[in-house]
């Protein structure tokens, strides 16, 4: 079946050439005009007693007509010319006669020269058309390979080959990727899946049916995919074997490349997620166990020993502090989970960032000890689109970070301003600042500044602050402050623009 189909597929090529516009109608009109002109000239020459000139003029006319009108028109012209010549021009006038050489040589001569010129002209025309078509096909192929080269994902391939597929009279290419020996459609329902399956199973390179063409995409490693090309309604399929072959080769290579890239990124993703889990587990076990042992030790001491009131108070305070720490930590883990799961901007609402900031500052004062939190706002109201609870977490986490990394009795400044459609909030502490080169790393999960300060953070706070801020379309950056040397964390959030305002 395969070989016959190929021939079948290749045959329409000549018909394809015909569909390219040639400007035949003006050529025919011109041929008729030349025919009439030659006839008139021949008659005039004959009247002037120049029979040789008449014959030559007529021969010239017929040759031109043949060249212009193609073989059929040329022959018809030649026949008409010989009849007219015989009837009107050559002796005896007004009578048909094919007796003497004078009478039949023009008939044969006219027809032969018309046929010869028509054939030559036709060949020439066809060559030109073929060259033009080949040029177009080449351009389509070049364009195709350029488009395919930039594809990095299998999903991008159908769009990239669309133009080429249309140029060969096909439509709606269905791409299949071979997974475990079975073709799987890249998009859509895969109407031609049966055809693709047959192709992959049989290993046939090309299958042409009445209404569609199926191509096997294979590389050195074996079949990687299949392409089913239904015929475009109202147009006839046309392609040259060599174009199709080039197309299949380029496509196979692209598909293989995309699939390899996919595998690579999947492997990378798995590796990173494994690394993350490992880091998370080690962090969880450490960060949970420390407060738990403090609580357990305090509670058992209280239960087992008669202790002075002062010591008991201390132990109870420890239990409370460590509980708060555990709570903070679980909240952060929960937030991390939300970030990993992806945030849905549909749930964001319009909220006043300063209202939320005020709540966060009040909360932060509870853990700030003797540190002062100073506000220097240049604006006191700014609408942003966010989840208010998550936004509060952003502010709180940054404030808490400032508290943990700054000495007692220092101050933490919160500055606010508005600048080209953004709210800027800077939180500045008087701690040791950030080592050069660490400005980005502080936002990494589980990053903790070295040497570890007295504080027991999870290393998640700033990472969550960044995740949330970015989800709100904002950004957050850290740097050592030029003046006081402490850390300055800048939060930038796009202002909400209300319609009609």
């Amino acid at each position: 079946m395969g070989a016959g189909s190929i021939r079948n597929a290749a045959r329409p090529w000549r018909e394809g050439a015909r569909s390219i516009p040639t400007g035949r109608v003006p050529a025919q009109a011109l041929a008729v005009f030349i025919f009439l002109l030659a006839t008139a000239a021949a008659i005039a020459a004959q009247r002037a007693q120049l029979p040789l000139t008449a014959a030559i003029l007529y021969l010239l006319g017929v040759t031109l007509v043949g060249g212009l009108a193609g073989i059929r028109g040329g022959l018809a012209g030649a026949l008409a010319a010989s009849l007219i010549y015989n009837f009107f021009i050559s002796d005896p006038v007004f009578r048909f006669s094919l007796v003497s050489a004078e009478e039949y040589v023009p008939l044969i001569g006219f027809n032969l020269s018309a046929a010869a010129s028509a054939l030559l002209a036709g060949r020439l025309k066809e060559r030109a058309l073929a060259a033009e078509t080949a040029n177009l096909q080449l351009k389509a192929l070049l364009d195709l390979s350029q488009r395919l080269q930039s594809a990095v994902h299998v999903d991008q391939i159908p769009a990239a080959i669309q133009a080429f597929v249309r140029s060969i009279g096909r439509t709606a290419p269905e791409l299949y990727v071979v997974k475990d020996g079975e073709p799987v459609p890249v998009e859509g329902p895969g109407k031609g899946i049966e055809l693709a399956r047959e192709l992959v199973a049989s290993g046939v390179v090309r299958l042409a049916l009445a209404d569609s063409l199926a191509l096997l995409l294979a590389t050195g490693a074996g079949p990687v995919g299949a392409l089913v090309l239904p015929q475009a309604p109202g147009s006839r399929a046309r392609q040259r074997d060599q174009d199709l072959e080039a197309f299949v080769n380029v496509l196979s290579i692209t598909l293989e490349r995309c699939l390899l890239l996919e595998q690579l990124s999947e492997a990378e993703l798995i590796k990173r997620s494994e690394e993350f889990k490992t880091a998370l587990l080690s962090s969880v076990s450490h960060d949970m166990r420390t407060p738990l042992s403090a609580i357990s030790a305090s509670a058992s001491s209280l239960a087992s020993y008669e202790l002075p009131a002062e010591v008991r108070g201390d132990l109870l305070a420890t239990i409370r502090e460590q509980c708060e720490r555990l709570n903070r930590y679980t909240t952060n883990l929960l937030n991390l989970g939300r970030l990993q799961g992806g945030l849905d901007p549909k749930h964001f609402t319009e909220c006043d960032a300063f209202e939320v900031l005020g709540t966060a500052i009040s909360r932060a004062r509870n853990v700030a000890g003797e540190r002062g939190i100073v506000k220097c706002y240049r604006v006191d109201s700014a609408l942003v689109r966010a989840d208010p609870v998550m936004l509060e977490q952003v502010f709180y986490n940054v404030l808490e970070n400032a508290v943990h990394y700054s000495p007692e009795r220092s101050s933490i400044a919160v500055a606010a301003d508005v600048e080209d459609g953004h709210l800027l909030i800077d939180i500045l502490d008087e701690g040791p600042g950030i080592a050069p080169g660490d400005e980005e790393r502080v936002f990494n999960r589980f990053y903790r500044a070295q040497p570890p300060s007295s504080h027991e953070g999870s290393g998640l706070g700033l990472s969550i602050a960044r995740g949330f801020t970015e989800a709100f379309g904002g950004s957050i950056a850290a740097r050592a402050d030029d003046v006081c040397g402490g850390t300055r964390i800048s939060i930038r959030l796009p202002l909400e623009t209300r319609k009609g305002e």
Binding site: C323, N327, T331, L334, N335, R338, T349, E350, C351, D352, F354, E355, V356, L357, G358, T359, I361, S362, K375, Y377, D380, S381, L383, D387, P388, V389, L391, E392, R498
Partner: protein, 225 residues
């Protein structure tokens, strides 16, 4: 405080911790771990207040609120987790009085319980005066005083403050406040934010960090008087 309190939570540790404290303040404590048991206990013991966990094994605690409300005059305080703002709002809209985030500080919980009890006991006889902390409201004269000094409020500001004062110490949802101030629970919360900001300008020492009119992000406001 001699209220009958139902602790409806499937986590026994919560009841174990709360029972001694609540009993010490003179309350009678009943516990239940499922929705079915809880409804039965609330009916049998004619409780005044329910501490309701939203995640019960046999039902969504939220769906229990209307049935509890039907039992008569009782307060419902929802025990919820942070980040469940939508849950909290729907529980409050369903008729809960307030919520407390788990894990809670016992002082905060006791304050919320006191606020709920205060509201229940003050419900029947309509009071003429509200007094909480530095704030007093004379309802008959529509007069608001802060540390004895009169504060001039616009009618809308006054309505909002009264709606908050009627639930002093308890959260009041955006919806509820929009209804109180504009008669339309679906009105733009932007209006509400603006008026709360105005009230804070007049009543707060530092409006950027309020102590009286607290924001409950994503839920509503709370008058902390």
């Amino acid at each position: 405080m001699s209220a009958r309190i139902l602790i409806l939570d499937d986590e026994p540790a919560i009841a174990r911790v709360l029972r001694p404290v609540l009993t010490a303040t003179g309350s009678v404590v009943v516990t239940a771990a499922t929705a079915v048991e809880g409804l039965k206990a609330a009916k049998e013991h004619a409780v005044d207040l329910v501490l309701l966990d939203l995640g019960l094994p046999d039902a969504d605690g939220k769906d229990l609120i209307p049935s509890l409300r039907n039992l008569g005059e009782l307060a419902i305080i929802v025990l919820s987790a942070r980040h469940q703002e939508a849950e909290k709002v729907s529980a409050l809209d369903a008729g809960a009085d307030d919520y407390v985030d788990k894990p809670f500080n016992i002082d905060v919980l006791m304050a919320r319980i006191r606020a709920a009890e205060r509201r229940i006991s003050s419900r029947s006889p309509k009071k003429d005066v509200f007094a909480g902390g530095d704030l007093t409201i004379d309802y008959r004269r529509r007069e608001v005083r802060l540390m004895g000094d009169e504060v001039k409020l616009s009618p809308k500001e006054y309505d909002l403050l009264c709606a908050l004062a009627a639930h002093s110490g308890q959260v009041v949802t955006h919806r509820h406040l929009l209804l109180a101030g504009w008669g339309d629970p679906g009105a733009d919360t932007q209006y509400l934010r603006s008026y709360i900001a105005l009230l804070r300008q007049k009543l707060e020492e530092d409006p950027a960090e309020p102590r009286l009119l607290l924001t409950e992000p994503g839920v509503g406001y709370r008058l902390n008087a």
